[in-house]
């Protein structure tokens, strides 16, 4: 693992992270890069980047700091990799939208349910979403709403646009989702997409988060 790569703006040919003669496309895709000013870079990476001189530099300098991704391409399913790489912003984004969409639910206990093909990734999405909800200062529970076998048998044969509202209705009807609860569902709707959708189930009514 080469964790760090510094590219000076003035000498882009030495350690250029873009694909070219010295770096393959595959290797370039495996880099996460961020541009810093010389001052910020020297604070974040002391020793690797020289800070600006007290009276300023003769040329304006900046640096691109690149780090290799921890997991090499091909070690995980492409879709899982895309979701997991952006897990923190994705979950935080859904929570922020849900909370701002329904400010009246601030006093409720929030439950989280994830619908994703892989159980392992599902639990990670739920974990991140619960932590993001806690970060908003909300009351969150580890309870999971459950449906009976008969309900599951019917709902899984429905079109997704119908299935989620029906499941929400059944959660409320069976009492597994209580009056003071709000269920935030994180859903992967299509096997080809690399984003997650959010839905709210409150008092038996389902709402997609835009």
């Amino acid at each position: 693992m080469t964790p760090l790569l510094v590219v000076w703006a003035g000498l882009p040919f030495l350690n250029d992270p873009s694909p070219g003669v010295l770096r393959s496309k595959r290797a370039a895709r495996n880099l996460d890069c961020e541009r810093y000013s010389a001052q910020t870079g020297s604070e974040r990476y002391p020793g690797a980047i020289r800070p600006a001189r007290a009276r300023g530099d003769y040329v304006e300098r900046d640096a691109v700091m690149c780090a290799e991704r921890l997991m090499r391409p091909g070690l995980r399913e492409a879709r899982d990799e895309a979701i997991l790489t952006e897990l923190e912003p994705l979950s935080r984004d859904i929570v922020t939208k849900a909370v701002s969409l329904r400010t009246d639910l601030a006093d409720r206990t929030w439950l989280v349910e994830t619908y994703y093909p892989s159980g392992e990734v599902s639990s990670k999405i739920s974990f991140a979403t619960k932590n993001a909800l806690m970060g908003q200062g909300l009351a969150v529970s580890d309870r999971v709403p459950v449906l009976g076998v008969g309900d599951v048998g019917v709902i899984t044969r429905m079109d997704p646009d119908e299935a989620y509202p029906t499941a929400c209705l059944r959660y409320a009807a069976t009492g597994t989702l209580r009056e003071g609860d709000a269920l935030l569902a994180v859903v992967s709707r299509d096997a080809r997409e690399t984003i997650l959708h959010g839905g709210l189930c409150v008092d038996g009514r389902w709402t997609w988060i835009p």
């Binding site: 921890l70 070690l75 952006e86 923190e88 974990f127």
Partner: protein
């Protein structure tokens, strides 16, 4: 049909090889990230010490530890062990790990609402019926590789029927950040650890005093007529200066002496410029390799120094050297070598040396010729820095 069978027959070994390669890559990554994972756990427990979740020591069940998808259960066991070890070393965190087999076991509960299969932790009502750990707390820890970041998420849930989450936290560290390697009984915050790291970098100062013991040997002449000089043992000291804390470039100026009774004595002066080859900044945790070029001037005298001349050594020269003080020879050399430095205290090096004034000497040959330059000397050295 035949084509399908053939493709299956061919696919087997290739898939096996790919699987082995994937497992090897996963094990390598797990080995690389586990120290960072330990750092995040240390940071988590340090947070509990400085800002405890519970007012007094509270039993907590380690309910779940998950590692990055694809890195397997070996890393999971390592992480679990580290959590237990750090918590045991830090009782003031007020998190007391307890064993609860019925919490993690899968339980089947049939009631009027139906049959529910779940872990005990996920169904505290069943735990209560079993006389288990209801009312206790459960700790969940998740580690995930998100791009170049390793992210740790933790939450503590109260094991009551409502399963409220009472505490949660998210921590992240970049792949570019070196592991802090903190001792588990002396936890520090990331800021304090960083300050210590910087202090360690800066406390080295720009100037060090090296003391070096080196041995030089000289190649036998190609024709076999001459007599090569004996190995020379030198003790040197001087000053080594680096322009920045990074110590990517260093230069040194040293003087030295050689003294073997009845054989030779000598004095030397040497200057070197070294360049760090393994990275841009000198590491405080792993060895660093420098490449160097240098020049020196040597003067030697004594019975064993007769070979430092261009003409072949004969019996008269040897007799004259033994009877008197022997000849005095002075020459200049150029060196090219590698120096492995460990912790800014110890160095081990090796070098090739060319003696331009003696390149036509019939008493020594070349170990190697590079771009028309013959290297007659080869040396190894051990350095201690103060």
């Amino acid at each position: 049909m035949i084509a399908v069978l053939a493709s299956l027959a061919l696919a087997g070994p290739i898939e096996d090889a790919q699987r082995v390669e994937l497992d090897r890559a996963r094990a390598e990554i797990a080995g690389e990230v586990h120290l960072s994972a330990f750092d995040l756990i240390d940071e988590l427990v340090y947070g509990w010490k400085t800002d405890p979740v519970f007012e007094s020591s509270t039993p907590v069940v380690l309910a779940g530890v998950s590692v990055p998808v694809g890195l397997g259960t070996g890393m999971q066991a390592l992480v679990e062990n580290h959590i237990a070890a750090v918590l045991a070393e830090n009782p003031t965190s007020n998190v007391q790990l307890v064993h609860c087999p019925s919490c993690t076991a899968v339980v089947v509960h049939s009631g009027p609402e139906g049959t529910v299969v779940s872990r005990g932790i996920d169904n505290p009502a069943v735990l209560a019926e079993l006389g288990g750990a209801t009312g206790k707390h459960a700790l969940f820890v998740d580690l995930e590789a998100e791009g170049s970041w390793l992210v740790l998420r933790a939450r503590i849930t109260q094991l009551t029927p409502d399963l409220p989450i009472v505490w949660s936290h998210t921590l992240a560290t970049s792949a570019a950040t070196p592991a802090l390697l903190r001792a588990s009984d002396q936890l520090k915050s990331a800021d304090e650890a960083r300050a210590e790291y910087l202090a360690a970098l800066r406390s080295r100062g720009p100037l060090v005093i090296p003391v070096r013991l080196s041995v030089r040997t000289y190649a036998r002449p190609d024709g076999g007529n001459g007599t090569p000089p004996p190995p020379f043992l030198w003790l040197q000291t001087g000053a080594e200066l680096a322009p920045t804390d990074a110590r990517a470039w260093t230069s040194s100026l040293m003087i030295g002496g050689a003294f073997i009774p009845q054989a030779y004595q000598g004095l030397m002066g040497q200057a070197r410029v070294s360049r760090l080859l393994t990275g841009r900044v000198r590491s405080v945790t792993r060895p660093d390799l420098y490449g160097f070029v240098g020049a020196s001037v040597m003067t030697v005298w004594g019975p064993a120094t007769s070979s430092f001349q261009v003409d072949p050594l004969n019996a008269d020269d040897i007799v004259a050297a033994v009877q008197g003080d022997g000849p005095r020879s002075t020459w200049g050399t150029l060196q090219l070598g590698l120096d492995l430095r460990i912790g800014n205290r110890i160095g081990v090096g090796t070098f090739l040396e060319t003696l331009p004034a003696l390149r036509r000497s019939q008493n020594m040959g070349d170990y190697i010729r590079v771009l028309g330059i013959g290297f007659q000397g080869f040396g190894t050295e051990v350095t201690a820095c103060f």
